[in-house]
Amino acid sequence: MGNRKSHGMMQEFWRNARALPGNVWRSTIRHGPLDTDLDRAEVMNQNFFLHILPVSVHRNTLRFSYSLGLGAIAFILFLILIGTGIILMFYYVPAVDQAYPRMKDLEFVVSNGKLLRNLHRWAAHGMVAVVFLHMCRVFYTGSFRPPREFNWVVGVVLFFLTLGLSFTGYLLPWDQLAFWAITVGTNIVAYLPGVGKQLRFLLLGGNEVGQEALIRFYVLHIAILPVLALIVLGVHFWRIRKDGGLSRPEEAESPLVSMTATPASRDPAGGSLQIFPADPRKTYGLMELVKGRTPMVDRGPEDTLTAWPHLVFRLFTLSLLTLVIFLIVSLFFDAPLKELANPNFPENPAKAPWYFLGLQELVSYSAFMGGVFIPTLTVVALMLIPYIDRGPAGTGVWFHSRRARKIALLSAILTTAVIWLLLFANMRTGGVRRFYPDSPQWLIDLLNPGTLTVLYLVVFFFIAGYLTDSLREASIGLFTGFLIGFTLFTVIGVFLRGPNWEFYWFWQSWPAP
């Protein structure tokens, strides 16, 4: 008996040993080739990483010309940043006497260290740009409309977290750029009414930019802000799923539902088609619980495709392309590194990274307006957009209407003209202090190209709204104005400001120092 049993045991052992590779494979991968739609649907639920994606997606979501893939690219860049950032942490030491030599080590001593740093820096620049463009895409396609209002707010928070991550990263090399960017940046913070001085003290861990400041920015950069960003990013993705995927035009959703949402004039028979009215509570849509839509008889499955392979393939292609592009850029262009920080002599001109140069241009007219008031106003205005502009028309379509396009164009031209005009008026006359040397500070804060541009934008918004009688079109005008203004001030800051923050055309060379 015992003999037989052990014989059976041995057999079983060998059988299992032979089947080991196959069993390990099956237990980890858990599926064979995905040949049927059922397999393709199942894989999205079985795989932890794919689980973030829906099982099936609407055709409109897959249209590249609709989303431009910007959100995905931003996320891919974030992953690249985490990866390169972690490796950089092995070499970086957040001490004032070590930080800069460590940069040089990365450049000359560590294998591929230069590539690593380049990749990290350029991906950071890329992320700021892509997140911003993503925000523009969402705005111009009206994708912040209910039920997606809150996710827009989350997105705005993510944009500022991205900026915070870049800014804190800038200090770490402890070069001239770093030192003076932080000096100027924390002094802007000090202009916040009431708490500014204390906040600056808290950020710097003292009164001066030094060791304490370096370690604080380091911890913010590698722990606090990335973790915050990850959490908020999780909420952002979660909300996309819960709000029913990417936005799309009403018509693409379901003819039945759209009849109920649009006036009867569009289809006189509309009322009789309300078999499945939009339900304000939750129901099934695209194979998952989302708010506000009922199942679509027949139409639904026609307009959706399985996420595997359609969405997954696109995401992988996008990742590969992003990675390759940034790798090539990093191979050919080196991340900037100035001389070692010198607290006694600022560079001339002392410029922040490009995405802050629009702000720096505004700050060069008035620190309070450019550094505190206008940015705060911008944040508040951005966050309020979805709560002010709520009408359903135009959701999921670029630019809403032909007239909206015209208004956007008009706003772009007008804003450009106004900014140049104000800029040259300011330069020609020398500003308020030239006419009125003892003018109080509030007059200078008020009468400068930055503040006046904002004033112009507000006036434009209300006039456009009054003339078109359309909130959406007016806000498209306003947003376009903001976009152009931001871009223009950035271009001026990056290219047209030379030593002493004086104005130089592209073709004028700077005087020798």
Binding site: W180, T183, V184, N187, I188, F201, L202, G205, G206, N207, E208, G210, Q211, E212, N344, F345, P346, N348, P349, A350, V363, S364, Y365, S366, A367, F368, G430, G431, R433, R434, P437, Q441, I444, P499, N500, W501, E502
Partner: protein, 147 residues
Amino acid sequence: MNRRHFLSKLGWTSFWTAVVGMVAGLARSMYPNVLYEPSRKYKVGYPADFARDVVTPLPGEKLFIYNDSKQGFYAISGICTHLGCVVSKTQEGFFCPCHGSRFDHSGKVKAGPAPRPLPWYRVSLALDGQLVVDAGEEVKPGTTLPI
């Protein structure tokens, strides 16, 4: 409000009080009590070291020391009141390279975005006869140390 609601409110209130209290307590540790920064009181040298009616820049301390034959000694800060760049001395006064602020000899703003004049600091004599500038103590422009 019935008993159950009251107890639930009480529970939540104590929970959040505990959380907020703890976070506030921990956050307090971020506010330094001791600064390892160099003192901002500088001994800058003997009065005789400073030539009459000449402005002596001290780049390390970011100060400008005046020895005025009529009024005496005074010190003006070299840190721009706009956003903290270091100003340089010019014919007309001071100039900040960061955003082009200009100041006259007494530190008054002449042009640019600087919101306040350059501060004057307290100048005194140490026991050993050297001049001491306290960059932590601002004085009204025009306050000098007569010699």
